[in-house]
């Protein structure tokens, strides 16, 4: 169910097959595992059996003697030849390396790597390596990790606290003092991530003759080439990242820096292509790809009528042993720290600690999903405390459509929105009153049944300003994306993007926007991925930004190209650019429309006939545009107020669940969602992004957790232990669009890659707690697994 934003659009918002799908359904995508050059060596890694231990000695002589083994490398060797991997925070004494050096910091951490002629031989060799460890007591609990006498994960750092901050936006104490009521609560987001079906893989190939390190990787990482070059201590323009590798799902987590540094080092050392493809256990236990693991302690000040005035939020996140950019997931949510609500003031205390668990990476939404779960829980609790309807309380707090652009206390302006209209649409889609009746009927039949409600803001477009809030050394305000467009001498259009893609349909996005602007058929436009040396400045397909940033760059490039086409045509029509009209690639004399130049003629002139070109126009037909994020470019003010992301999409979710009171099993019978990402570029892609995010949110809410036993052993090393939703766990999701165009983007588009994952966990939690309400219990820890619920209902063993 959908409506288009502008009826005069040729291609944008229209249904169109997704370009990328053709190669994927044919089995002819090229993923990193499909790139195996002649002479390629294969890496296997030896994991630490202990969560925390001193490495006393490593004996690898037998492994080195095994036929087919080309190198055995330890952390000591790597530390001598490479730099520690870049991390977001300024932590000079928290050194992150591909292989443990002197000490292991989690069970599953890589200790030794073997490169061999086949991965089987490499794995055989691992069994011949003897490591002498001196086990130490691990620290696993983030609250205990902050204690003075806690074992230190990184002794040189002197504490397990990586970051602790306090932000005060607005008159928090005054608002609390003046409030009719206050409440406080704790919610916990479990350690999970978005775990793609393709594990992380990377192939590095050093060519001494050209001083080039070629990299193929299943990557989704800003500044990837920069980080590789820095860690390997080689010039940045020696590194060539091939962005035309298809990535088998990423959703934030495909970062793979340590893997790449390891194989890059080995390739240079051995003069051969070297690849490392994680197996599933390595991926889950030791890939440094766990997600947020967060405890929120929140206080809310509100009035008797349900208006929320202020919130005090403490967010404690367990980044694991190696934080990477993970802790920034505490800062990005500041961009929508009050959600869609008119909350006057906020105190926010983010804390990131290190522990003896696998390291953390950014996950879809970059911290927004846990934060939204906390915000929506707060609203439900206010409704509960006052005996008010949950939907009515949301309505009373929503920012109204007339109030946009709306400045929130932390200094970010929301661009546009119509939250009431979106909520109305989902209620209508769900036939909400009937749904409540169905719930009552099921309750009368002896089942526990619940209807959930959650909304979410999706900050989109990206920016780096949140980094500066946590680390003033990160004085970076540029967050650009680029697109080139070329028309060849036969008139065919090629769009060139500078990043890879991992299922988001970026080629379709670029083709659609170029086709829209140039009035040409998108299906005939080819879109390619320049490698990191050939492409123009870019960041990465993260931060729900590509429709805005790559789409905007494509529109800008197309407009520049069109200007050039018009100038060439006007010159040949003997008139001026303002006296002609462009239509579908042809240019006509406005005064005499019979006089015209067709697209093919203009392309031929541009490429072949200098004598017909106007003065000052270079040969060929090409243009590029590099777009800086709208509203970016300013550092925070003295009150830590700053514009973070530029555009704010919005969703409202309503799931209907049943809960078996005997087993604790939750079944989601129905799921409704209304979403507003401004102008939709491709409706199928948007629907897929939204619903796919919902499914991952269902996983985070009910099933997925990277678990450790009390001794620090990892116990989620298979898909039978780390449970992801199958088609049996995800209902057919009904969705409806709404369109509030963004005033800041080329076609009114906003991001939509994250919203489903931001709203669903909160919505499922709301539904489960609604189901539990008749029993007088509630649950505030994700995932809400069957056994947890059963314990809650039946008192455990």
């Amino acid at each position: 169910m959908r409506e288009t934003a502008r009826s005069n659009l040729l291609h944008v918002s229209r249904k169109r097959r997704v370009k990328e799908d053709k190669r994927f359904v044919s089995g002819t995508g090229t993923y990193v595992q499909d790139v195996v050059p002649k002479g390629c060596l294969h890496v296997a890694v030896l994991p630490s059996p202990y969560p925390r231990a001193k490495i006393v000695a490593i004996d690898s002589a037998k492994a080195e003697a095994l036929p087919g083994v080309r190198a055995v490398v330890t952390g000591e060797e790597l530390a001598a030849h490479t730099m520690p991997i870049y991390q977001g925070l300024n932590l000079p004494n928290v050194r992150w390396r591909p292989l443990a050096h002197e000490m292991t910091r989690y069970a599953g951490e890589w200790v030794v790597a073997v490169a061999a002629d086949s991965v089987h031989v490499a794995e055989d060799a691992l069994e011949l390596i003897a490591v002498d460890y001196e086990p130490l007591s691990p620290i696993l609990d983030p609250e205990l990790a902050m204690a003075e006498d806690a074992p230190l994960v990184h002794p040189d750092h002197g504490t397990n606290v990586l970051y602790r901050g306090e932000f005060n936006w607005g008159p928090v104490d005054d608002d609390f003092a003046a409030a009719d009521r206050t409440l406080s609560f704790r919610v916990r987001w479990g350690r999970s991530s978005t775990v793609p079906i393709e594990t992380f893989g990377v192939l590095a190939s050093w060519h001494a003759g050209t001083d080039t390190l070629d990299i193929w990787a299943s990557i989704q990482m800003p500044k990837y080439a920069e980080q590789i070059a820095a860690a390997l201590k080689i010039p940045l323009n020696d590194v060539r990242v091939h962005n035309d590798v298809d990535v088998g799902g990423a959703y934030g987590v495909k970062r793979g820096i340590k893997h790449t540094v390891l194989v890059g080092y080995l390739s240079r050392k051995l003069g051969a292509p070297v690849r490392l493809i994680e197996d599933r256990l390595v991926n889950l236990a030791g890939g440094d790809a766990h997600g947020p693991d967060r405890i929120f302690d929140t206080e809310v000040a509100f009035s008797e009528n349900g208006t929320i005035a202020s919130m005090k939020i403490r967010a404690l996140d367990d980044a694991g042993a190696y934080p990477g950019r993970g802790p920034y997931q505490l800062a990005k949510p500041i961009s929508a720290i009050v959600g869609p609500y008119r909350i006057n003031s906020v105190r926010y205390e983010p804390i990131s600690v290190t522990s003896n668990k696998c390291g953390q990476v950014p996950v879809r939404g970059f911290g927004q999903a846990p934060t939204n779960y906390m915000i929506e829980t707060a609203v439900d609790k206010v409704a509960d405390a006052l005996g008010l309807d949950r939907i009515e309380v949301r309505r009373r707090n929503f920012i109204d459509r007339e109030q946009f652009p709306y400045m929130i206390p932390s200094g970010t302006e929301y661009d546009s929105g119509d939250y009431h209209a979106v909520l109305d649409k989902v209620l209508e889609l769900a036939k909400y009153d009937d749904l409540l009746e169905r719930r009552e009927r099921r309750r009368a039949e002896g089942m526990l049944a619940g209807v959930g409600i959650a909304t979410c803001l999706e900050p989109s477009g990206g920016n780096t300003m949140f980094e500066y809030l946590m680390n003033p050394q990160a004085e970076i305000t540029t967050f650009m994306e680029s697109c080139q467009v070329r028309v060849d001498s036969h008139g065919r259009i090629t769009g060139i993007m500078g990043t890879g893609t991992s299922g988001q349909g970026h080629e379709t996005l670029v083709a659609t926007i170029l086709g829209e602007e140039l009035e040409r058929e998108p299906d005939e436009i080819r879109v390619i991925h320049a490698d990191s040396r050939a492409g123009f400045p870019t960041v990465a397909p993260v931060a729900s930004r590509m429709a805005i940033m790559l789409g905007g760059a494509a529109a800008g490039a197309a407009q520049k190209l069109k200007e050039r086409i018009i100038r060439i045509a006007a010159h040949n029509l003997g008139t001026t650019p303002d006296a002609v009209e462009y239509s579908a690639g042809a240019v006509r004399d406005s005064a005499d429309p019979a006089r015209k130049l067709d697209w093919e003629e203009i392309c031929f002139i541009a490429h072949n006939q200098t004598h017909k070109m106007p003065e000052g126009i270079e040969p060929g037909l090409q243009a590029y545009h590099i777009l800086q994020v709208p509203g970016g470019g300013r550092l925070p003010d003295e009150h830590d107020r700053v514009q973070l992301y530029p555009c704010f999409a919005f969703q409202a979710h309503i799931p209907f669940v049943e809960l078996d009171p005997g087993t604790g099993k939750v079944t989601i019978n129905e799921y409704y969602i209304a979403h507003d990402c401004g102008t939709v570029i491709n409706p199928d892609i948007v629907r897929g992004m939204v619903i796919g995010g919902v499914a991952q949110g269902i996983g985070a809410a009910l099933y997925e957790k990277f678990s450790y036993d009390p001794d620090g052993q990892f116990i989620s090393g298979t898909f039978a232990d780390y449970i992801m939703p199958s088609v049996f766990e995800v209902p057919y999701v009904e969705d409806v669009e709404h369109c509030t165009p963004s005033p800041l983007t080329s076609h009114g588009q906003k991001g939509t890659g994250e919203g489903g994952y931001l709203g669903a966990p909160a919505a499922i939690a709301s539904a489960v707690n609604d189901a539990l309400r008749p029993r007088g219990v509630s649950i505030h820890e994700l995932p809400m697994r069957m056994a947890d619920i059963e314990d809650l209902l039946n008192g455990g063993d």
Binding site: R17, E198, V247, V727
Partner: protein, 162 residues
């Protein structure tokens, strides 16, 4: 480890043979010995279904079978679902029309499971569709557009048959 031996089988209707150590999985054999990289590795323990192929007509996990066990058998992979000219076949086209995929990584296994379903049950109910793809994890789509795609593939096949 013991020496590689020759394995001969039928893949997508064509006689193929290659060398395999006894411990080599059918998945790795297809991918690295025969060069059929459409079949993907997801978990190597039989849960995710990314490596699903037809083995004598049944949908099975290629990561749980050794290549030597396939000696003399008939295997069909995603490449075999294409038309003779390499263009997408009807099930594949239905997935394109419904955008029943995103990153494409689980897609080959999903398509094979759907092929097995529609061979046995040309007009499946939604429950039968769920049953058929219940062993194929997709992390991108949330399955809704995949269900749309299977419904579409079945409807098109029905239309084509009448």
């Amino acid at each position: 480890m013991s020496a590689p031996r020759r394995v001969s089988l039928t893949v997508n209707g064509i006689e193929r043979s290659g060398m395999a150590e006894p411990r080599l999985t059918l998945l790795d054999f297809l991918r690295y010995e025969l060069g059929l990289t459409g079949t993907h590795m997801g978990c190597e323990h039989g849960v995710c279904g990314a490596c699903t192929v037809l083995f004598d007509g049944d949908a099975v996990r290629a990561c749980l079978i050794y290549a030597v066990q396939a000696e003399g058998h008939a295997v069909e992979t995603v490449e075999g679902l294409c038309n003779a000219d390499g263009s997408p076949g009807p099930i594949q086209d239905a997935f394109r029309d419904a955008h029943g995929l995103q990153c494409g990584y689980c897609t080959p296994g999903m398509l094979i499971s759907v092929k097995a379903l529609l061979q046995a049950t040309p007009d499946p109910s939604d429950d039968e569709i769920r049953e058929a793809i219940g062993g194929n994890l997709c992390r991108c789509t949330g399955y809704t557009q995949i269900i749309d795609a299977v419904r579409l593939a079945a409807a098109k096949a029905k239309g084509a048959g009448t």
